[in-house]
Amino acid sequence: MDFLGAFTPDNLIFLLKGFYVTLKVAFISIIFSFIIGGALGTIRFTKIPIVSNIAAVLVETIRNLPLLLIILFTYFALPEIGINLGITVSAIVALTIFESAMLAEIVRGGLISIEKGQMEAARSSGLSYIQALRLVILPQALRRMVPNLVSQFISLLKDTSLAVVIALPELLHHAKIIQAQELSYVIPIFLLIALMYFVVNFALSLIAKRLELKSA
């Protein structure tokens, strides 16, 4: 083990660059998957014939596939039918597809958890279904979803490391490059990137706790 030797300025900067890609890909995927997952979960909740069924089939299919398979498919299979997304976009698309399905279920679960009387009160006061959903049900459901949403966001951030298989220049990928050059760096570098993942994810859980306390 060579701790001091491993943490050269060059290596640290290289790792930070990788971490920047990790955070960037995670952040963009979180935004997209929250929008798409939110829409899918809400549509599935509404039980509108056909539309709701399509959402259910999509969510169930994707949820039951390994993320790694989706990443490999997006990068290696899509070019075969003429869709060439490149490494970063492939990673973002694959993560977004997978996490949208996961988030859709969280959103649907949150919506279902709101007492039936809330919808009845809103509807009987003359609000339309969409208004009732937007003004009464969703705001309450969102608060209940916060812990599950954040834990899914944390999963997503960690799952970016799976994109190492398509050589996305993220944190784990950069760590492996450094380790390949010098075997004695393996443990120090692993420990360091573990710490980097931990700090960011733990901070996210703390924020979630704060939000929970506020809405309680």
Binding site: E115, G117, Q118, E120, A121, A122, R123, S124, S125, G126, L127, S128, Q131, L135, V136, P139, Q140, R143
Partner: protein, 242 residues
């Protein structure tokens, strides 16, 4: 105002409402009583189409509720509803609870909605709770807010679905008082309740329902002193002599 004509309702094979014929006139206070599971709440909930009827005709202000072309949101704006469990919106303050529908369903301005909300909050006797959240109120106060919320839409009909059943006994009176005042002002009211004192004092007419059927319809004095149907007699003796 409200007219049921040969209304039937099924939940699958279960016949919940059987050949209901009932007319409620403007300004009338009709109290629906009957054993639990008799269909009285279902009957009430048909009036604003929280439940749909299977067949027969049901009109509110001459609008057919089971007509596909009926804009139910428009009908509902004229009908206030108060629930057993209040169903206030927990994420909104008392004032916001009352203002929500007037602003979003009627499209009136925030300032006007606030004025209306304050007026009705004052009317139900808790003007000081405007900025509280429902969870900070007692059951009786919550139910009074729910009544104010219904009134803020300036409805022509108010429906009450066991409004005091979920309340601690000492809070029942404050809610009944508000309802009584409302009845005295001439509001058309349909009330499902187990409060026989209220039924007797405030009701213009008692409708007794059992197993989905209207068994007896009479003025309160007549109904309580001289019930014709045997089942109504049994029901009353159980309720009044405990």
């Amino acid at each position: 105002m409200i007219s049921f004509g040969h209304v039937n309702k099924y939940y699958g094979d279960f016949h919940v409402l059987k050949d209901i014929d009932l007319t409620i006139k403007t300004g009338e206070v009709v109290v629906i009583i009957g054993p639990s599971g008799s269909g009285k709440s279902t009957l009430l909930r048909c009036i604003n189409r929280l439940e749909t009827i299977t067949d027969g005709s049901l009109t509110v202000k001459d609008v057919h509720l089971n007509d596909k072309k009926t804009d139910i949101n428009k009908v509902r704006r004229k009908i206030g509803m108060v629930f057993q469990h209040f169903n206030l919106y927990p994420h909104k303050t008392v004032l916001e609870n009352i203002m929500l529908a007037p602003i979003n369903a009627l499209g009136i301005s925030k300032e006007e909605a606030k004025k209306t909300a304050e007026f009705y909050l004052d009317k139900v006797g808790i003007p000081d709770k405007a900025t509280s959240f429902p969870s900070q109120l007692s059951g009786g106060q919550q139910q009074r807010v729910a009544i104010a919320r219904g009134l803020a839409m300036k409805p022509e009909i108010m429906l009450f679905d066991e409004p005091t059943s979920a309340l601690d006994p000492e809070m029942v009176g404050e809610v009944l008082d508000v309802m009584k005042a409302l009845a005295e002002e001439g509001m058309t009211m349909v009330v499902v309740t187990h409060e026989m004192g209220f039924a007797k004092e405030v009701g213009d007419r008692i409708v007794f329902i059992d197993q989905g059927k209207i068994l007896e319809e009479a003025a309160p004095v007549e109904f309580f002193e001289n019930p014709k149907e045997e089942r109504a007699q049994v029901f009353l003796s159980r309720i009044l002599n405990h």
